[in-house]
């Protein structure tokens, strides 16, 4: 673990996220190989790529759901390569999952409350929250922000699919996030839910950066200022949304040759 002095020095200049030569092998299969990626604080980036390009594996390596086979991962200047997931989350990293991972037997507000509690002290508290508990209030606020206030006491198992996706986002915004990984947040959402999602993302405070995996180009290009294309576990191209959209190689590979 780095010293406080190291951390303070890194704080001003550090990138939000810095991956160097990160690879993940499953047996002989390289899900991602030699990925080097730098994201500045507050930057909003989209990661595009076909199925199996290694996008979700990249996320799993960054959050620590599993450790990379090779390479180093730095979060706000700190080497977190060997850190368990919960240590990275406590440092301001958040993520959502492609397939909602929620607590089905608990209510909406309890789900968000757990997320708020996870990044603050008192995780082992044996005392119930009091009537005006700050974390419980902020959980209710988050439920409001993702339009789930009317359902705050509903069990997650009886929410609709779209509502579960909204709850996923609420869990990722609990506490004081500094960098969020969004794994296909718009998948399966209706057009109106999509525009709500875009609104939520565009309204995030500017110091919160994120990486978004998204198949829907409309969503991806409207919420990001830079784009990384992945293909077969490698980074294929990086650039602004405009550059990527007009790149002939990208069009050939991803958008299909018929795209104008």
């Amino acid at each position: 673990m780095t010293s406080v002095a190291d951390r303070l020095q890194a704080a001003g200049t550090a990138n939000a996220l810095e991956l160097r030569g990160v690879s993940k092998l499953f047996g002989a299969l390289a899900a991602i190989s030699d990925v080097t990626l730098t994201v500045k604080p507050g930057e909003r980036r989209a990661v595009l790529g076909s199925n199996g390009a290694g996008k979700t594996t990249l996320f799993n390596c960054i959050t620590g759901d599993f450790l990379p086979t090779t390479g180093t991962i730095r979060l706000f200047g700190e080497d977190v390569t060997d850190f368990p997931a919960y240590e990275r989350i406590r440092r301001g990293l958040r993520r959502t999952y492609q397939i909602s991972l929620l607590f089905n037997a608990l209510s909406v507000v309890d789900n968000i409350y757990l997320a708020c509690r996870g990044v603050s002290r008192g995780r082992f508290s044996l005392l119930r929250p009091r009537t005006n508990d700050a974390l419980m209030n902020s959980a209710v606020d988050l439920a409001t922000a993702v339009h789930l206030l009317d359902f705050k006491d509903t069990l997650v198992s009886s929410l609709s699919y779209g509502q579960q996706r909204q709850l996923e986002i609420a869990l990722a915004l609990a506490g004081a996030p500094r960098f969020v990984l969004l794994d296909e947040p718009a998948a399966g959402l209706s057009p109106s839910e999509r525009s709500e999602l875009i609104e939520i993302l565009n309204n995030l405070p500017s110091h919160i950066g994120y990486i978004i995996i998204e198949h829907d180009m409309d969503v991806a290009l409207r919420v990001s200022e830079s784009v990384t294309m992945m293909h077969n576990g490698l980074i294929f191209k990086e650039g602004s949304p405009l550059e990527i959209e007009s790149d002939p190689e990208v069009q050939e590979l991803y958008l299909g040759s018929g795209h104008e």
Binding site: V4, R7, G64, D65, P84, A85, Y86, I89, R90, R91, G92, R95, Y97, L101, L102, F103, N104, A105, L106, S107, Y113, L114, C116, G118, V119, S120, R121, G122, R123, F124, S125, L126, L127, R128, P129, R130, T131, A134, L135, M136, N137, S138, V140, D141, T144, A145, V146, L149, K152, D153, T154, L173, A174, G175, A176, P177, I200, N203, L204, I208
Partner: protein
Amino acid sequence: MTDTPEKQVSEDNSGPLAQRGGVAHTRRENNLGFYGWVSEIPASYGLFAFALLLLPAVVSSFVLSQIFSWALILGMIALSLMFLGGYGGMVSLSQMSVAGMAGYMLAILGNSAITDISIGWPWWLAVPVAIVIATIFCTLTGLLAVRTEGIYTIMITLAIAAAFFYFTRQNYVLFNGFSGFNGLAPPQLFGINWKSSVPFYYLTLFWAAAAYLAVLYVSRAPFGLALQGVRDNSRRMAALGFNVTAHRVAAFTFAGVIAAIGGILLVWLNGQISPGTIAINPAIDILIIAIVGGLRRPIGPFVGALIYVILRTFSLDILTSMGLAGERFQLLIGLVFLIIVYWSPDGVLGLWDRWRERARQRDPWKRSSNELSDRDELS
């Protein structure tokens, strides 16, 4: 260990969207506050508690100690299993060993008929130390068990229970081997003989009620909620900042305290402890009690324990009255449990819930009653 970043994070918990929302804080009315939580206990339980308090006036001293005190104690030990299994998703077969460890430590540190081994500490020292040692034992069991999941947790805890049983049976220096300890009794205090059936009943009732309320309360406190989160989705809990392993181990510590108090009461009730008390059979009986009662709510283990104790006590009489051989009493117990679990995999509690649901469906006035009150009772 992680000072700086965590402080920053916990400083502002209102989240980025809070400022944007602009909606007045809507407070959760139910379940919150220090005293409000008692409302979760169904009103009918008040009557039930009243009946339990008046029980000594109605039943004989044999029924009081051999049925009700025993059921309350077994219910407490099964409650510790319910806490681990129901809220934590970890089924442990070593909870009887934890209770036995507390009992053995009380016999060794306090007074017993085996004066060569017993140190003779006063009860106010021996009892807390015994509970602490048993709790540490349960925590260490947890440290081993939480590395595994599902059936492997059961196997590891079963192995620990078996190892502890054989150890106590073969160790004569400390555990006095096969014969164990006898001559154990609760202390004389405030001029009351706590060994006699009525005071002892109230003693067990007090601690059983305390354990029940503690589990009910903690189930909605951050620790208990997080434990249920770990049960439902451990990967997501890690991605929310929780140290899942530490949470599971802490659950074993919490359950250990309850099982240890049960163990102390158990040796006071029986006046003795021997390897037979903590053998594999009693360990499995605790699991049966918890499953038959129901793992979903903390009242389940007590219901299961009462059914178990009644069957244990009267099955011999029932069998002989039917002209069958009395030694087949295990068969009768097994059959009743088979029937309950066959009809309701979630135990007697599950039967009760379904019966109530059906009654509600029949009653047109209650059909549209909101889901909320129902859920709170379940949690």
